[in-house]
């Protein structure tokens, strides 16, 4: 089994693959880094930053950004608006305006969060974001990239990007890749997992999980939610919804959608 660890997307990333060589993992790392450079909101020249600054015009977008914008609209629909990448202005109002290690800036009153379909439009090769709106692809990007990496690497591979992971194939034993989940080890085969929580990227009086209903950091009785789903991006969407719904309503919402969850 080949393995590779590196820092990218503001997180620790891990790749595992059976039946391929170290060069394939090195190429996958390079691709992840290129995607980070394109999708980060902290670099003014990144594709996402330029899209956020496009002022309501139709602009050409890369295949990857187009796919992520489509997934963002789907996430909005699936989550009844709870997963909304248009929270960026509200997130900036909390003080999360720069790389987390640099610390928060002063908080201001949050603007209302618009419904994503009202501010984002897509057509082949192009996209338009309403003036004043801005997106943060955050966890959506990590989940989607983990799915793509596992798909590209090998028929038997696992990609974990900062906790959003997809296990493709059965691992070394064929029964599943052994993955830590809620204090247990599960054997995951063709399955994604993700965790959402308020325990990291948090500071006194705030954290990075914005509730689109209020535009403020989520006030949930849950601190962390881990979820299994058929893809990493769905696991990411479901985990965030469950966190925002809280311990009373999350199990009802997850039932029938997720193959497993851990609430704490």
């Amino acid at each position: 089994m080949e393995r590779r660890r590196f820092e990218s997307l503001g997180s620790e990333c891990e790749l595992y693959a059976i039946g391929t060589d170290a060069d394939a993992l090195a190429a996958a790392e390079s691709w992840t880094r290129r995607m980070h450079d394109r999708l980060t909101r902290f670099e003014p020249r990144s594709e996402v930053s330029r899209f956020n600054a496009s002022g309501g015009r139709w602009v050409a977008v890369s295949l990857e950004l187009a796919a992520l914008l489509r997934e963002s609209l789907r996430a909005f629909e699936v989550s009844d608006g709870l997963v909304n990448v248009a929270v960026l202005p509200a997130l900036l109002a909390t003080g999360y305006t720069r790389d987390f290690d640099a610390g928060p800036t002063a908080a201001t009153d949050p603007p209302p969060v618009p419904a994503l379909p009202e501010v984002l439009q897509l057509r082949p090769g192009e996209a338009r974001l309403a003036g004043g709106a801005a997106i943060d692809l955050g966890g959506i990007a990590k989940g989607w990239l983990a799915d793509r990496l596992a798909e590209q690497l090998a028929e038997n591979a696992l990609a974990n990007l900062g906790g959003d992971l997809f296990a493709r194939g059965g691992g070394e034993t064929g029964e599943g890749w052994p993955v830590g989940f809620g204090g247990k080890t599960l054997l995951l085969k063709d399955m994604g997992a993700a965790t959402s929580g308020t325990t990291k990227r948090a500071w006194p009086g705030g954290h990075h999980i914005i509730d689109p209903r209020s535009g403020l950091p989520a006030k949930s009785d849950l601190r962390e939610v881990s979820v299994l789903a058929s893809t990493a991006i769905d696991a990411e969407i479901y985990a965030k919804v469950a966190l925002l719904l809280g311990s009373r309503d999350a199990p009802k919402w997850l039932e029938g959608r997720s193959q497993g969850w851990w609430l704490t």
């Binding site: 393995r3 503001g10 997180s11 620790e12 891990e14 595992y16 990590k142 696992l158 974990n160 900062g162 906790g163 959003d164 992971l165 029964e175 599943g176 890749w177 052994p178 993955v179 830590g180 989940f181 809620g182 204090g183 247990k184 080890t185 599960l186 054997l187 995951l188 399955m191 997992a193 993700a194 965790t195 959402s196 929580g197 325990t199 990291k200 990227r201 962390e224 881990s226 299994l228 696991a235 311990s247 199990p251 997850l254 997720s258 193959q259 497993g260 969850w261 851990w262 609430l263 704490t264």
Partner: protein, 90 residues
């Protein structure tokens, strides 16, 4: 020269070995921020009970413990093996 130098050299050697050994130990035991607390953390609710004089006295009565809950579909298998990786907040 003789004994004093030997003692100094010995002390320096012990200090260097301690430095290298502790560095190796720390590198081999990275902190896992996302590992669940064991045993599960319990929420302690402190009730504020008014006294006969009207002042509030905190009473440390543990209540409302909530354990982490895991729910798995029948097809999902667990193992006693350690995981090669894990899902976590980032």
């Amino acid at each position: 020269m003789g004994r004093a130098t030997t003692l100094r050299a010995g002390a320096a050697l012990v200090a260097a070995a301690t430095f290298v050994g502790s560095g190796a130990y720390v590198s081999a035991h990275p902190k896992n921020d996302a590992a669940p607390l064991q045993p599960p953390a319990q929420t302690q609710v402190v009730l504020v009970i008014p006294t006969s004089r009207g002042a509030a006295t905190p009473s440390p009565i543990p209540r409302a413990t909530r354990s982490p809950r895991i729910t798995l579909a029948p097809g999902v298998k667990a193992t006693e093996l350690p995981g090669i990786t894990y899902t976590h907040v980032s």
